[in-house]
């Protein structure tokens, strides 16, 4: 039985009069791969930004390891964020070398230089970018840049990894490589992973549980088997069968 790592209570987010997320309730267990599935524009990225404390919810509560992050101090917020890592849909590349990009999270944690070197080289080897450490990061291809961002996200062993549609702009070879990395990181490091995607097949390949987000509403959370074989909500069934038009 896994222990609960993160919990969201009645979380709502509005931009002006537009309610993007509506009373979201969910919990994330330690060591699982949880997929947040839904079509584009339903609020997946907004929810991820709230989970990573980049945005404040309009209402509701967010707990991480039992600490309520919606009312914590800046120091507590930074500490919580340092246990997480987030990968964006489009990889953000700092204008420096691949090595410095990957080392960034360790440098701000004031990790010893020798340890930084060792961890960065290890992370680069995991993502298949060994030998490219001195290359300007901006000269990497899209797939390489996403893998570099992946290395940067895992180099400091976060407890929870938030992946916001990490493969949506990649070719099949890079998609397969990233999916393999996700499974390997969970298997070897026990990292909890939350992945946002609209790719049903990807969810089937890598996730343990899945939540369906439609129009800002989390309509169903269930195991992979239940969601795909016996969905409880008619909208889930329609979405999975490709009968919904957006």
């Amino acid at each position: 039985m896994h222990s609960e790592l993160m919990r969201v209570y009645d979380l709502t987010k509005s931009f002006g009069n537009r309610e993007v997320l509506k009373k979201i309730n969910m919990s994330i267990n330690e060591g699982e791969i949880f997929a947040l599935m839904g079509p584009s524009g339903v609020g997946k990225t907004t929810l991820f930004r709230i989970l990573n404390l980049l945005e404040k919810p309009s209402e509701g509560k967010l707990f991480f390891r039992g600490i309520e992050l919606t009312v914590c101090t800046m120091r507590e917020k930074i500490n919580a964020r340092r246990s997480m890592s987030m990968l964006f849909q489009t990889p953000c590349v700092l204008n420096t070398t691949v090595f410095n990009n990957v080392a960034y999270g360790l440098v701000i944690r004031k990790v010893d230089k020798n340890a930084i070197r060792e961890k960065v080289m290890n992370a680069l080897s995991i993502v298949g970018l060994e030998g490219k450490e001195q290359q300007k990061a901006r000269t990497l291809s899209g797939g390489e840049a996403q893998r570099m961002a992946f290395a940067r996200a895992i180099v400091y062993d976060p407890d929870i990894l938030l992946l916001d549609e990490p493969t949506s702009s990649l070719d099949p070879a890079n998609v397969a490589m990233i999916e393999e990395l996700i499974k390997r990181i969970r298997r070897e490091l026990g990292t909890t992973i939350i992945i946002a995607t609209h790719n049903i097949y990807q969810v089937k390949r890598i996730a343990d549980r899945v939540g369906i987000l439609l129009n800002g509403e989390l309509i169903e959370v269930n195991s992979i088997g239940r969601i795909f074989e016996a969905p409880e909500d008619a909208r889930t069934k329609a979405f999975i069968n490709g009968e919904m038009i957006y």
């Binding site: 930004r49 980049l54 953000c92 700092l94 420096t96 960034y104 999270g105 701000i108």
Partner: protein, 244 residues
Amino acid sequence: MSSVDFLFQGIIRAFELIFSLNPYILSITGVSIKVSGTATILGTLTAIPLACAITFLNFRGRQVLITLINTGMGLPSVFVGLFIFLMIVPAGPFGFLKLYYTQEAMILAQYILITPVICGISLAAIKAVPQPVIDTVYTLGGSRKDAVIAMLREARFGLITSVLAGLGRALAEVGAILIVGGNIAYTGSIGGIGEGLSYTRSLTTAITLETSKGEISTSIALGIILISLVLSVNILANFFQRRE
């Protein structure tokens, strides 16, 4: 003598003055570099932190400040000179500081002129840093300070360009420093050229004076040095813009 011969001889004499390291010319160049360099350093120390504050802090009057900076980028230099002159003359509110006709007054005038230029261009350079860079820093566990440092690092070439633009404007400026500096050189002739060593005489103010006196070769020599300095600054700025 034709006008072409006159100009040609002036240029030859100008090069003689430059390569003989004429003390009058050197002292004027020294004053220009000192005044403009100091104003640029002070302007940079004010403008870049201000640009960071405007970007990161949401304070009351932020928009007004941005408008003032944008307006300041086009401030007429003679107006700035007149304003400072009225402040520092013996009868003015800051007359007790005795800054009237000093290099410090020239530095102050150039500081007021170039700080908005450096700030405005820095602000544009910082705003050009994509928001995901800041988000990535936070996501990786960085504090606001880390985000500011990362942002400055990403905008570094734009920031260098802003400083060079400020230096370029300071070196080429004439109106304000003429009013507050007085275009003073110590009396006494050196090598039959000029009036001794410069005190508040810069390259630009000296050119206006020497031309009005008919000392064309001296003016051309000063002009060549001025253009060389401004050109060097612009070549550097272009170099950093290309790198960006």
